[in-house]
C-alpha cells in the first residue's frame, strides 16, 4: 500500500529502523530493553552472582579462564568474572543516577520556561545557553581529581554539569502544550499554574523525558567509564573503566591476555548499544512523524 502525503524526500530522511520489525513488533525495542533489564538484574544481584570477592586474591595471578575462574584472573589474582559482575553495579549507578539528575533538572526548567514563556523563557534559555558553553568534561575532571568524591556524588555532579541539553527539546514541546485548548480549559476550571504544569503538561511530555533519560544514561555511563579509565573513579568500587585501565597499564595488551581486557570492553559496548537502540526505537514509537512511514 502506498502511503499518501509522504514525499520521497521525507521518506529517504527517515531512519531505517523498519527492517527490525517482525509482525508489527519492533525487535530492536524489545531486544534492547531485554539487554538493559538483564544488566539491571546483574547489578542488583551482584553479591549473589559473583563467586568471589572482587578485591580478594582468589587464585594465582594472570590465570586464563577455567571452571573456577570463568574469566581468569588479573595481575593481583582477583577473579575477573566477579569484578565484571560488581562493575555492572558501579557503571549503571553512574549512568542512571547521572541521567536522573539531569533529566529531572531539564524537565523542571523546560516546563517552567515553556509554560510561562515571554521574559521567563528568555531569561531561562539565555542562562541555559551560557551553561551549555561550559566544557563539562574538563570541569568534571578537575572536580573529581580535587575532591575525590564517591560514586553517588560523582554521578550527581555529572548530571548537574553535563545535563542541560534536554531543556530545549522539552521546552519546545511545552511551548505548544501551554497554549493548547485543554490547558486554557483547565485554567477556565480554576486551576493554578503549578497544578496545570504537574498534572496536565508533565504527562504529555513523559515519553520524551523517557527517551532523554535513556540517551543521557548512555552518555553518562560512558563518561563514568572514562573517569574510571583515567584512574579518578571511586577507588572503593570496581568499575569497568578501572578494569580496562588496569589491563592496559599492567601488560594485558602486550601479553595478549584477552580475558583481562575484552570482557569489560565488551560489556560496555553491549549496554551502550542497547541503550542507544532502545532510545531510537522508543523515539520512533512516540514520534508521529516516524509512525506515518509504517503505512
Amino acid at each position: 500500500m502506498r502511503s499518501f502525503g509522504v514525499t520521497p524526500h521525507a521518506r529517504s530522511s527517515i531512519r531505517v529502523w523498519r527492517w527490525v520489525t517482525v509482525s508489527g513488533h519492533n525487535v530492536a525495542l524489545y531486544l534492547s530493553l531485554g539487554v538493559i533489564l538483564v544488566y539491571c538484574a546483574i547489578a542488583l544481584f551482584a553479591p549473589v552472582i559473583a563467586p568471589f570477592d572482587p578485591f580478594a586474591m582468589s587464585g594465582s595471578p594472570l590465570a586464563p579462564p577455567d571452571a573456577t575462574h570463568l574469566l581468569g584472573t588479573n595481575d593481583l589474582a582477583q577473579d575477573i568474572f566477579s569484578r565484571l559482575i560488581w562493575g555492572t553495579r558501579a557503571t549503571l549507578i553512574l549512568g542512571f543516577l547521572g541521567a536522573a539528575v539531569s533529566v529531572v533538572m531539564d524537565t523542571i526548567i523546560g516546563i517552567v520556561a515553556g509554560y510561562y514563556g515571554g521574559r521567563v523563557d528568555e531569561a531561562v534559555m539565555r542562562f541555559v545557553d551560557v551553561m551549555m558553553t561550559i566544557p563539562a568534561f574538563p570541569l568534571l575532571l578537575v572536580v573529581t581529581i580535587f575532591f575525590r568524591p564517591g560514586i553517588y556524588v560523582t554521578a550527581v555532579i555529572m548530571g548537574l554539569f553535563g545535563g542541560l541539553n534536554g531543556v530545549r527539546i522539552i521546552r519546545s514541546q511545552v511551548l505548544t502544550l501551554a497554549v493548547s485548548d485543554f490547558v486554557v480549559g483547565t485554567k477556565a476550571l480554576g486551576a493554578g499554574d503549578g497544578y496545570i504544569m504537574g498534572r496536565h503538561i508533565l504527562p504529555n511530555i513523559l515519553p520524551l523525558v523517557g527517551v532523554k533519560f535513556v540517551t543521557s544514561a548512555q552518555h553518562f555511563m560512558l563518561v563514568g567509564i572514562g573517569l574510571g579509565f583515567l584512574g579518578i573513579g571511586d577507588q572503593n568500587l570496581v568499575d569497568w573503566g578501572q578494569m580496562i585501565e588496569r589491563a592496559s597499564q599492567n601488560g594485558g595488551i602486550i601479553l595478549g591476555l584477552w580475558w583481562w581486557l575484552i570482557p569489560p570492553g565488551l560489556a560496555v559496548t553491549v549496554i551502550s548499544l542497547a541503550l542507544a537502540w532502545f532510545a531510537y526505537a522508543w523515539e520512533e514509537r512516540i514520534n508521529p512523524r516516524f509512525q506515518v512511514m509504517r503505512v
Binding site: F182, V184, A188, L189, G190, R199
Partner: protein, 315 residues
C-alpha cells in the same frame, strides 16, 4: 427564572492585542448586561470579537493583552481581582464551554478523571466521590453508559460526545454563569439539535452567554440577542425584535444571507481591526450609507423597548 437584577455587567470593555503591525482592537467599548437566569446570544461572524469577549470575562487572554473597562460580576470587578481570587471564580462561578471540543481534553488523561478534577478543585470531593460525581454529570448530559465512558480517553469519544463531555466539565461545579463558545459548531444536524435541547435544559438554572453564528440556535435558546461586528455591538435587544424586525443594516444583511431568507451575502469583507473605519464600521459595506456615516461614529440608539442599534438611520 429571570429577574431584572444584573448578574454580569460589562462596561466600556476594550480589548487590544499588540502585534508588530499595531494594536488589534478586538473589542471596542463593549457594554453588556446579563441578568440572573437570562440567556443572551452573541451573534456575529468569525473575527467579530465574540470569543475574545467571552475569554476576557474569565481573564483567559494572553498576558500581554491590553484590557480596559469594567466587568462586574455580582458587583465585583473581575478585571481588578487578584489572580488567586479569580481562580476561585473560574469554574465555580463562571464556567466556559470552549470551542474546539476535539482538543479541549487532555489526550493523556481519562475523561472521567478530567471532570473529577474540576469537582476536586472546587467542591472538595476526592477520589471515588469525585469520580461518582463525574459519572453523574456524564449521565446528565446524556452520555450512554457513563460509568464506562468515564474511564475512556478523549480519542474514544465522537464529536457529539466530546461536546457533551465538555458541557459536563463546565457544569461540574454548578456555575451560575455559563459561557458557551459555539457549542454547535461542526456538529451534524441531529447532534446539533440534541446539544441545543441539552442547553435549553441547562439554561433554566443559570445565566448563559451563548456565543454562536448559528442564528436558529440563538432564536431557540436566547431571550435577548446581541450582534457584534468588528469588535462592537451593533444591535442588541429581545430575540423576537432583533431576529424578526432587525434594524441595523448589518443584522439585516446577516439574516438575509441565510439560505431560507434568500441567501444574499453581504458584499465586501470585515474591516481591519488595527485601523477600523473612522465613522460607522459597517459603512464601507452598507447599502444605506450616507455621507455622514463615514465621518461620525454612531452610538447605540434605542429603537424599541430594550432594543438598541448603532446606526445613523435612527439617530
Amino acid at each position: 427564572m429571570t429577574t431584572d437584577e444584573p448578574l454580569l455587567r460589562v462596561r466600556g470593555l476594550k480589548v487590544g492585542f499588540p502585534t508588530s503591525d499595531g494594536l488589534v482592537k478586538a473589542s471596542d467599548a463593549i457594554d453588556l448586561t446579563i441578568r440572573t437566569g437570562e440567556t443572551l446570544a452573541l451573534l456575529g461572524e468569525t473575527g467579530s470579537g465574540k470569543t475574545v469577549l467571552g475569554m476576557a470575562i474569565l481573564r483567559l487572554l494572553q498576558p500581554n493583552t491590553r484590557i480596559e473597562g469594567e466587568i462586574l460580576y455580582r458587583g465585583r470587578d473581575l478585571l481588578s481581582l487578584p489572580e488567586r481570587e479569580m481562580q476561585k471564580v473560574r469554574g465555580r462561578e463562571i464556567a466556559v464551554v470552549l470551542q474546539n471540543s476535539g482538543t479541549s481534553f487532555n489526550p493523556v488523561l481519562r475523561v472521567g478523571d478530567q471532570i473529577a478534577e474540576a469537582i476536586t478543585l472546587h467542591r472538595g470531593l476526592k477520589g471515588p466521590d469525585a469520580e461518582a460525581a463525574a459519572v453523574d454529570l456524564l449521565d446528565r448530559v446524556r452520555i450512554a453508559d457513563p460509568a464506562r465512558m468515564a474511564r475512556e480517553y478523549p480519542h474514544r469519544f465522537s464529536g457529539g460526545m466530546r461536546e457533551r463531555a465538555l458541557i459536563a466539565l463546565a457544569l461540574a461545579c454548578n456555575p451560575s454563569f455559563l459561557i458557551a463558545d459555539e457549542p454547535t459548531r461542526g456538529l451534524d444536524a441531529v447532534t446539533r439539535r440534541e446539544i441545543l435541547s441539552l442547553f435549553s435544559e441547562i439554561n433554566r438554572d443559570r445565566s448563559v452567554l451563548f456565543i454562536t453564528h448559528d442564528i436558529e440556535a440563538a432564536a431557540t435558546l436566547a431571550a435577548r440577542v446581541a450582534v457584534m461586528y468588528a469588535g462592537e455591538i451593533v444591535e442588541i435587544g429581545p430575540v423576537d425584535a432583533v431576529l424578526s424586525s432587525p434594524v441595523h443594516p448589518y443584522t439585516r444583511g446577516l439574516l438575509g444571507s441565510l439560505p431560507e431568507r434568500g441567501m444574499r451575502p453581504i458584499p465586501g469583507s470585515a474591516p481591519s481591526l488595527i485601523a477600523p473605519p473612522a465613522g460607522c464600521r459597517f459603512s464601507p459595506r452598507c447599502t444605506f450609507a450616507v455621507g455622514r456615516c463615514e465621518k461620525e461614529h454612531p452610538g447605540l440608539v434605542e429603537v424599541g423597548p430594550g432594543h438598541y442599534a448603532r446606526c445613523m438611520l435612527y439617530d
